[in-house]
């Protein structure tokens, strides 16, 4: 009995030691706005994509161009003009996904063009009633975005300012129908004492 008790104690101690040293990993809320550095992070990305898309969906311009049902839209890849390697494709995807879910616009999948032309070529060669190429609808509207950054350092204070600009253009008339911008400003003060 005594020996068994000792064994439990040792096992318990070991477990405690092991867990004490282990790195803990937790799920975080992707939209929680807790900045950990002045870099452009995932929550900034979520925030920006959401705000900009909401702003466009709330605008009156949407009703004007939706006369014949949801207009066909192309979302151009976000232009990265910052000093950080940002996966702008991921920001672009977030924007597109939010727009698709709003059901206010219709989209074409441009990422699978190679597979599409292969399929069309195959249909031309082998199918009974092939889909002719050059029959797709042409998107009339284009959404373009820019992300730029201004950094300033004064003594121990670092101030980083990000600006995200988005605009909607009518490809037929060339006119700019809507534009908006959102700014994020992050400041960091270097501590005097630390590790």
């Amino acid at each position: 009995m005594n020996a068994q008790w000792k064994l439990f104690a040792v096992a318990g101690l070991l477990a405690w030691l092991v867990s004490g040293c282990a790195t803990t990993v937790e799920y975080g809320d992707a939209t929680s706005g807790k900045p950990i550095s002045t870099d452009f992070g995932s929550s900034d990305l979520q925030q920006i994509a959401a705000t900009m898309v909401d702003s466009m969906l709330m605008d009156d311009v949407l009703q004007e161009i939706s006369g014949d049902g949801p207009p066909l839209l192309v979302v151009d890849k976000v232009k990265n003009k910052t000093t950080q390697h940002i996966d702008t494709e991921s920001v672009t995807d977030s924007i597109r996904t939010k727009l698709i879910r709003s059901r206010k616009f219709s989209f074409q999948d441009r990422t699978t063009e190679a597979a599409l032309s292969e399929e069309l070529a195959y249909q031309q060669a082998a199918a009974k009633d092939p889909v002719a190429s050059g029959q797709q609808d042409a998107p009339r509207y284009m959404l373009t975005s820019n992300l730029s950054e201004i950094e300033q350092t004064q003594g121990r204070l670092k101030d980083v300012y990000y600006k995200f600009t988005m605009s909607l253009r009518d490809l037929k008339s060339g006119r700019l129908l809507w534009a908006d911008e959102k700014e994020i400003r992050k400041q960091k003060t270097k501590s005097v004492f630390g590790g």
Partner: protein
């Protein structure tokens, strides 16, 4: 380093950079070894490994900058440095090395066909150079105030005349270590590839300030100035550079449907630091101590222009745009006051220990302290050694196609030749590095 990496680099043999630098990228000199690894891997065409190594160096440098002004680990290292030598302090890359790390990282992104990534590195290099310039201006401002006796490094200590003379000889006409026109020029090429002629123009003007005699910088600044409608600037440039103003590459001829070939030609290896012992009075120890200081004793040979031809038709000769050895010499001169302060503090601490051992009259202890002082007294000779000594450029507008481009030495003899893809309206960057007997090259076609 000489045996493991530099010797194979000089002869074009495998440097085994993974084995040499892999483990060392965790030590106190991690920034330095990561940069050495990045450069060696890039020369051997391993761009993904090089990109990861430079990214590690850049991140570690940033972490050093973001550290608290007075940190426990930093203080410990400084304390160790007082007792041992400067090598105990983690390596902090001087500004010119940081800028070049971004420069080579931009080339990595270009080689990996990521033009946006190259743009990010160009912006980072620009920020680094801008910060170095601002730091310098602040120091000038400080030294103007009457409270300060002399500007650090400007009014050199007469006892260090020998040290500064060598550095001045190496630095030559280069006045500040952040005057790196090669990075500004490569930046302008990448800006143009990205369709940002205005940013390209700004960087070309900065390159022109540093190397006003480079004909390709003159032609490009005129071409972009004309395109952007910078009338006053263009009139000024036309007056200053009449020969360049008439060149077709300055936008006078029809450049439409032509292709642009940019050659970046690097030569040799950056100079190495060596140690110099200087007698220096130690006020608090009442004695004359010896301090070891890092110096540059050798000046690399001057740049040799190379002739570039496409299918036998001459395109011109390369022109110098950056003397890396001079930047290194100037950077060391700028750091010298800080190095001297630490060396003197160390000499004083060691002198006190020797005096204590002597006073106690223990012969053996005295001997041990004296021996320790001699052997631990070493100058910090660390620097990025795989950097080139000189960078030269050439820029030409030519017929698109796949010509055989040849680069030949001034004495004759082909250094490099190969087929280069030139697309209409696009830029092809031909990057050639010559280190003694070895020639490394890579062709980057604008995506």
């Amino acid at each position: 380093m000489e045996q493991t990496t530099l010797a194979p680099l000089r002869t074009g043999q495998d440097t085994g950079y993974r084995k040499t630098f892999g483990k060392r990228t965790n030590g106190t000199a991690r920034v330095l070894f990561a940069m050495e690894m990045g450069r060696a891997a890039q020369l051997e065409g391993d761009f993904e490994v090089s990109r990861a190594a430079f990214e590690a160096a850049i991140a570690a440098t940033r972490a050093q900058d973001d550290k608290a002004a007075i940190s426990a680990s930093g203080a410990a290292a400084q304390g160790a440095a007082v007792l041992v030598n400067d090598k105990a302090i983690p390596y902090r890359a001087p500004s010119y090395e940081r800028t070049l790390a971004h420069h080579y990282q931009a080339l990595n992104y270009l080689a990996l066909n990521d033009l946006v990534g190259a743009g990010v590195e160009v912006r980072r290099a620009n920020r680094e150079q801008e910060e170095a310039r601002q730091r310098h201006e602040r120091e000038i401002e400080k030294s103007k105030s009457p409270a300060e006796n002399a500007a650090p490094g400007e009014e050199a200590d007469p006892r260090l005349a020998g040290v500064y003379a060598g550095l001045d000889e190496l630095a030559g006409t280069v006045k500040f270590s952040f005057q790196n026109a090669a990075t500004f020029y490569v930046s302008s090429v990448i800006w143009e590839m990205l369709g940002e002629p205005n940013d390209a123009y700004i960087d070309l003007k900065k390159a022109l300030e540093i190397y006003p005699d480079n004909p390709y910088v003159q032609q490009d600044v005129l071409r972009l100035g004309r395109r952007l409608g910078m009338r006053e600037d263009v009139a000024d440039f036309e007056r200053r550079f009449p020969a360049a103003a008439k060149a077709p590459a300055a936008g006078n001829g029809a450049l439409k449907n032509k292709a642009r070939l940019v050659v970046v030609y690097e030569e040799g290896l950056a100079p190495k630091k060596s140690e110099m012992s200087v007698a220096y009075p130690l006020s608090s120890a009442d004695s004359l101590g010896v301090v070891s200081l890092p110096v540059y004793a050798e000046v690399p040979p001057p740049p040799m222009p190379a002739a570039v031809a496409a299918d036998g038709k001459p395109l011109g000769g390369t022109a110098p745009i950056c003397n890396v050895g001079a930047l290194a010499g100037r950077a060391l001169a700028e750091q010298m006051p800080g190095i001297l302060t630490r060396q003197v503090a160390r000499a004083v601490a060691k002198g006190v220990a020797a005096k204590a051992a002597h006073d106690q009259g223990e012969g053996l202890a005295e001997l041990a302290v004296a021996l320790y002082n001699i052997f631990s007294e070493q100058a910090d000779l660390r620097s990025w050694l795989t950097l080139p000594a000189h960078v030269q450029i050439l820029s030409a507008w030519t017929e698109p196609g796949k010509p055989c481009v040849a680069i030949s030495a001034p004495q004759g003899g082909t250094l490099w030749s190969g087929e280069v893809t030139l697309r209409p309206g696009r830029t092809t960057l031909l990057y050639v590095v010559r280190i003694d007997l070895a020639v490394y090259s890579h062709i980057m076609v604008q995506p």
